[in-house]
């Protein structure tokens, strides 16, 4: 077994190298997209463009595919991600929206961990009895709720009832402090501004809860099934026989072991959480890349922005890949059975 720090470097390095073909694959697929759209992509991309732009575009499409692809990757690496129909550059907008989306996703992940995992423990503990059934109905309800329906109900019916805001990051438009991270709560905390922190958190609650509720099933279900696997093991029985309280046995001894499997939740839910932001950010007026994707795709009947749509899809894919990488490395760190070499 190799578990020394130098082996860890090999372990992480190997995974980073494995990323390269996947990233190349993602760029190839998004490149195919740019060619998939229509008989005459130029006319569809630039419906209001002048003759020179159209001619430039046509010229690009007449190059060999490999040249076009290399040019595309080169542009991607240099932050030249194209522009919308009204000539607003894509890259700065996505870069500006990314922190807000990350904040929303992390908040939802936090809620999934503090609510979803204990629910999984309760379900496993009472497997086959009514608390188990209630938990199952709860997480399958989240699964069965279409994202927009959950978001719309939360924003229009629940928000006024609870007195929570349902639009944007802050009540005021411009906060009176410097925004270092562009994550609303973090910035307010960094500035040490308590009223604005409370305001930011109250704005985050509903979108994050909706996003967490819809994705709760995976966390709860995985905790439940890995707890069911751990509970009959001898070390749990011996902890119980030592006279430890049931709470201590379950949450300290059993959960600790089953959480190793649950780290994979991060990788499995990344896609669902990111996809959920598209509609949730739109409904709650959250200034992230999900709302950007909604508009770029032509949501609500707007004119689609192809460059923006392709770029944002690629960013989401990279997000999923990175989440899986982190989950993979975490799993390797936590599970002593994994050989790092």
């Amino acid at each position: 077994m190799g578990r020394s720090p130098s082996d860890l470097a090999v372990f992480v390095g190997k995974r980073l190298v494995q990323l390269i073909p996947v990233l190349i694959g993602i760029t190839i697929l998004t490149f195919v997209f740019t060619h998939l759209s229509a008989v005459n992509p130029c006319a569809q991309w630039f419906p209001h463009a002048d003759k020179t732009t159209l001619a430039n575009c046509q010229h690009q499409f007449n190059q060999p595919l490999v040249t076009q692809y290399l040019q595309y990757v080169n542009n991607l690496l240099h932050g030249n991600w194209g522009a919308s129909v009204s000539a607003v550059a894509v890259y700065p907008q996505i870069a500006a929206g990314l922190p807000a989306t990350l904040e929303l996703v992390f908040a939802a992940l936090f809620l999934m961990i503090v609510i979803g995992i204990p629910l999984g423990v309760i379900a496993a503990q009472s497997s086959g009895r009514w608390p188990d059934h209630l938990v199952r109905i709860f997480y399958l309800s989240g699964w069965a709720t279409p994202t927009y329906l959950g978001a719309v109900i939360a924003a229009i019916f629940i928000a006024p009832y609870l007195g929570l805001p349902s639009h944007g990051e802050y009540t005021g438009l411009v906060p009176p402090f410097k925004q270092y991270t562009h994550m609303s709560v973090v910035d307010a905390l960094l500035a040490g501004n308590l009223p604005w922190t409370v305001d930011a958190i109250s704005h985050l609650i509903l979108p994050a809860t909706t996003l967490a509720f819809i994705n709760m099933g995976i966390a709860t279900r995985m905790t439940r099934s890995s707890m069911l696997e751990v509970i009959p093991l001898d070390y749990v029985k011996s902890a119980r026989m030592k006279g430890l309280s049931e709470f201590w046995v379950l949450y300290k001894h059993a959960l600790r072991n089953s959480l190793i499997t649950t780290t994979t939740v991060l990788g499995v839910t990344a896609g669902g959480l990111l996809a959920g932001t598209v509609v949730i950010e739109k409904v709650f007026g959250w200034p992230g890349i999900g709302a950007y994707a909604y508009t770029a795709i032509g949501g609500g009947g707007a004119a689609p922005n192809f460059d923006g749509a392709v770029a944002v899809v690629a960013v989401f894919a990279v997000g999923v890949v990175v989440a899986n990488l982190i989950a993979d490395i975490l799993y390797g760190l936590l599970d002593p059975r994994v050989d790092w070499r």
Binding site: L29, Y148, G272, V279, V320
Partner: protein, 341 residues
Amino acid sequence: MAERARRIGRSAILLWRVLRANPLTLVGFVIVVLIAGTAVIMVSVPHLLTSYGVDQGTVDYHQSPSWHHLFGTDGNGLDIFSMVLYGLPVDLAIAFAIAGVALLGGGALGLIAGFWDRPGTAGGIASVVIMRITDIFLSFPSLILALAIAVSLGRGVWQLVVAVLLTWWPFYVRLVRGETLAVKHLPYVMAARAAGVTEGRIVLRHVVRNVLEPVIVYFTLDIGTVLVTLSTIGYVGLGVNYPTTPEWGSMISYYQGAGLITSYPWTVLGPGLAIFITVLAFSLLGDGLRDVLDPRSRRVLAGNAGRSSTSPAEQEEAAEEVQQEVLELPTNVPAAQEALS
């Protein structure tokens, strides 16, 4: 004839045992049967359930829900409940088409990648290529990829099906490959090979039959997921044309876009409730079936019920389960995800 009757009888008994194991599974099964029955009636004799035709206006405009109009009416006098009923076979047909084609196509690729995976052979190369392409597709959140494809293809039923289908097959490749890998080294497969059965026949007669069970369970759960995804695409405005084609997601998008949610909420909540109940029913059934098939929870279920009968057949089954578990023991995150998803 007698043999066939006995086999059907045995399947019925098995189904009843599975349903009895968890009351929620039974509830899900009953609702699914009711939904299927309603869909059949709506296709053949719709006037049994509603007195209105598709897209047939009444003189009741903007009525709130009543006994006469269960889900109220819209501004054109359309009875929302009838439109939801007409949408049921449309949504179910699209969902079954997508999940079914994904199962057949993805499943075939998964069988190839799982069964002929020896490195160096033609099969090994094919297997690597299939899995790499699958991985790339899996790194995109499927909803977002489907949205991007839908925007390239334009509006319509066929475009919708193709867009979701293109993102749906990789899940079946991963699932079937995992199951094939677990099955193909089992003694009975080796015995068949030793007896001189051809490779193709082994795959069709012995592997497929044993892979089928988890795939059907996944398929049941998947119908719900497809429905939710479809309706989200409809909501974003890339779905079909309502009210000519009564599809639930497009229906919600239509009324939501007209700003009816606050003044006439039933126009949006009616189809939303239909999606919720349908998806919940399929999920309850699928989740319950998955529990029964999961060897870990099956053992716990049996332990709880105190029914530890040990007929030779059951012992054999248990040994097989242990062997499967050993083969499926997650040593890294992708494998763990495979086992759990």
